[in-house]
């Protein structure tokens, strides 16, 4: 059965994308098609997870070519778990996007393009998770990157082109490093099959191993946004449409993390670069979260927390123990769900408040209590407040760090706690400003319109006050005050500073479409459910990590025997 099921997470979305292109003239049909396809992918992934957990790792040779020659798809506990989480959030984001498209029309996000591209993206992610050889992993990366280029520059507005160019150039560089690394690996070992590499790479001289390992880690580190290779992310993510940013934040960096896990466990288990990864993890956590604290825009803040929390996963990987890897795997699953949800909530905030600038938002909790709950629960989860899943994941990682016991590990444990506290600070600031304060407290200090309003106020009394200090001056400053107030309220509620006040007010008061709220609520419920299911999930992560450290389940599944040719 698994021979039939394993290729489906790649095949179904690709065929679905072709179908969605064919029916691009019929939006309703297209929506139904892509939703059905993603639901099917989710169902297949769940079955694969149960099979992989019950029977251990299995592999499928695509096209019937003998093992070291053909393309191999490997389903083990880690890849099946990643598939399930990825297809779940992809389905949630798709429903959200459908709701947004139905409410907005197709000016900013042309949905006829969105659906096929999104399905191709899911196919690329699935291919990367299932790939059993390095070159197929590269192809998976390229499929998802190609789709992500299109999604990120959807609509082609100036801001998206600017952010998209940064993203494209950085991704191209990382792909080229990856491709060159594959070439060198092939030259050194004569194979690109990962199970075969697991044996042959170990026979190479140590210097060659470190060179190949560091090239692969640089390529994946750029994709996973590990400091110092993370600067591109907060620059390019926030400009895209909300569903696109959400799926990027949830999935794309985690594909990089998944590739790092494979490199560090299967290909180079010696732990030669573990100390370097430790320090990179610490720097990622701290630099990322300090960046998040400095931000005033909700989406940019979330992008920085995304970078910061990648540090936790790299920490778990760098520990190299089964406990550390289990923590990292659990954290990846938790973080995919939580970060996607928060970016979707940011999309809802933008609709409700007309902006994502925390300075210009206010009073959201009173205007939309449901939205406030939808933000509050995942935000606390991200910060790691007990008993939510973020807390469980962090405790698991910190325990693994303490158990490892080296000085570096303890430094990282301390860094992890500080990062968690600073995350709480960052989300609490958004909460108090955007949700808790009353709307007319929002100062909007840095907007041009508010500055103009204040300048008018300060200038007027000087001129009129010099002429006389009676009725005229009072009347003058009073008109000025009215003007300034009007502009000020306009700024506080308007979507763009240059919109006329009336349009801003109308836009801000639009009700939230039920589909968008429903999709977000479902994902919030999922993140809460991750807390309830944390026991079984952590057990699964534990078993996956044991397989990873052991390595034989993977190679045995590919070659059928313990002996590797």
């Amino acid at each position: 059965m698994i021979e039939v099921l394993a290729p489906l997470p790649v095949l179904l979305p690709l065929l679905g994308a072709a179908g969605a292109l064919l029916v691009s003239g019929h939006p309703a049909f297209q929506r139904a098609l892509s939703t059905t396809v993603l639901t099917a992918v989710l169902a297949v992934s769940v079955v694969l997870l149960f099979v992989a957990d019950a029977e251990g790792a299995t592999s499928v040779s695509v096209g019937g070519w003998a093992v070291p020659l053909g393309i191999v798809l490997v389903v083990d506990r880690l890849s099946a778990l990643m598939l399930v989480v990825a297809s779940t959030v992809a389905l949630g984001v798709l429903v959200f996007a459908v709701g947004q498209g139905a409410a907005d029309g197709s000016e900013e996000t042309p949905l006829s393009i969105f659906h096929p591209t999104f399905l191709v993206l899911v196919a690329g992610v699935g291919n990367a998770f299932l790939a059993g050889d390095l070159f197929n992993l590269y192809v998976g990366f390229e499929i998802l990157l190609m789709a992500s280029y299109v999604l990120l520059t959807l609509g082609g507005t100036a801001a998206r082109i600017r952010g998209g160019i940064t993203y494209i150039v950085v991704s191209l560089t990382s792909s080229l490093v990856f491709l060159a690394a594959i070439g060198l690996v092939y030259a050194a070992t004569g194979t690109v099959n990962m199970a075969q590499l697991a044996v042959r790479l170990g026979e190479l001289p140590e210097g060659t191993q470190v060179l190949l390992q560091s090239m692969l880690l640089i390529a994946f580190g750029i994709k996973a946004a590990v400091f110092p290779l993370s600067a591109w992310l907060p620059d390019s993510y926030p400009t895209a449409p909300a569903p696109v940013t959400a799926v990027f934040a949830g999935l794309l960096t985690k594909v990089g993390v998944y590739a790092i896990i494979r490199t560090q466990t299967l290909l180079f288990p010696g732990g030669a670069l573990d100390d370097l990864l430790m320090w990179a993890a610490l720097a990622t956590m701290l630099v990322g979260i300090l960046g998040a604290v400095a931000q005033r825009d909700l989406r940019r803040m979330l992008s920085f927390t995304l970078v910061s929390h990648i540090g936790y996963m790299v920490f778990g990987i760098a520990l190299g123990t089964a406990a550390g890897l289990a923590g990292a795997v659990f954290y990846v699953a938790h973080h995919i769900a939580i970060q996607t949800t928060l970016f979707l909530v940011a999309g809802l905030v933008e609709r409700q408040g007309g902006t994502t600038s925390v300075d210009r938002l206010g009073g959201l909790a009173r205007r939309s209590p449901l939205l406030a709950v939808l933000f509050f629960v995942p935000a606390m989860n991200l910060a790691g407040i007990p008993p939510l899943s973020g807390f469980i994941g962090k405790v698991g990682l910190l325990q693994a760090g303490v158990a490892e016991g080296s000085a570096v590990a303890f430094t990282l444990v301390a860094g992890g706690v500080v990062t968690s506290l600073l995350t709480l600070l960052a989300v609490a600031r958004v909460w108090t400003r955007a949700f808790w304060r009353s709307p007319n407290q929002s100062p909007a200090e840095d907007t041009a319109a508010a500055a103009a309003a204040d300048a008018t106020l300060r200038r007027r009394p000087e001129h009129d006050g010099a002429a006389s200090d009676g009725e005229a001056a009072d009347g003058g400053s009073r008109t000025a005050l009215q003007d300034a107030w009007r502009r000020h309220t306009a700024v506080a509620t308007a979507a763009e500073p240059d919109l006329p006040p009336a349009a801003g007010a109308v836009r801000a008061l639009r009700p939230l479409p039920a589909t968008m709220v429903g999709a977000t609520t479902a994902l919030v419920a999922l993140t809460v459910a991750l807390t309830g299911l944390a026991g079984p999930l952590y057990g699964l992560a534990d078993r996956a990590a044991t397989d990873l450290v052991d390595r034989t389940p993977y190679t045995t599944s590919v070659f059928g025997t313990e002996e590797v040719p």
Binding site: F135, V139, E142, M146, Y149, V150, T153, G156, T157, A158, I161, R162, G163, G164, I165, T166, I168, V169, L172, T173, L176, L179, A180, I182, G183, L184, Y186, A187, V192, P234, D235, P238, A294, Q295, R296, R300, D359, R433, P439, N440, Q441, P443, E445, D446, A453, D454, L457, R458, R478, L481, Q482, A484, W485, R486, H488, T489, A490, P501, A502, A505
Partner: protein
């Protein structure tokens, strides 16, 4: 067969030129740099196949003298990907030119704004601790009286244009 020195020299030269162009702000040069880097990587892949041999077709040439076909298959895939990405980047450059008459890599304005900000946020200060003349112009406490007065003839805070 002795290894050739031509390929490594060419690969190195292409990488150097490609990185130099990639670091430019002009997008056309970035694209050209990417194309050079792609070609350099393809040459690198080609050279991993070992010394040159005969076409790897059974019955056409002697299997002992075959060239390794796998790197060539990898290169074909890589060429297709590079081609697709180059076309997309060209479209982006065109779009950028149409939008802004400019095809340079832009600056992240929000980033600059955050970097240029003063150490203290205005809304982290407690306005009540400040002297009245230092308070923000629209501070609710200092203007409360005035606003109540205004409330008779202006719709506050909606202020949708009725005067």
């Amino acid at each position: 067969m002795t290894p050739t020195v031509v390929l490594p020299v060419m690969i190195g030269g292409l990488y150097a030129a490609g990185v130099y162009l990639l670091l430019d702000r002009s997008l056309t040069r970035v694209l050209l740099g990417f194309v050079l880097l792609g070609n350099a990587t393809n040459l690198l892949l080609l050279s991993t196949g070992g010394p040159a041999g005969l076409a790897p077709i059974l019955g056409y040439s002697d299997p002992e003298q075959f060239n390794d076909p796998l790197p060539q298959a990898l290169i074909l895939t890589a060429i297709v990907i590079t081609f697709g990405v180059s076309a997309f980047v060209l479209a982006i450059i065109h779009r950028s030119w149409r939008l802004a008459r400019n095809e340079a890599v832009g600056t992240d304005e929000e980033d600059r704004r955050v970097a240029a900000r003063k150490a203290t946020d205005a809304d982290e200060l407690d306005p009540d601790d400040l002297a009245p003349e230092d308070r923000a112009a629209m501070h609710a406490d200092s203007r409360a009286g005035v606003l109540e007065e205004l409330a008779d003839d202006v719709d506050l805070p909606a202020g949708s244009g009725t005067r």
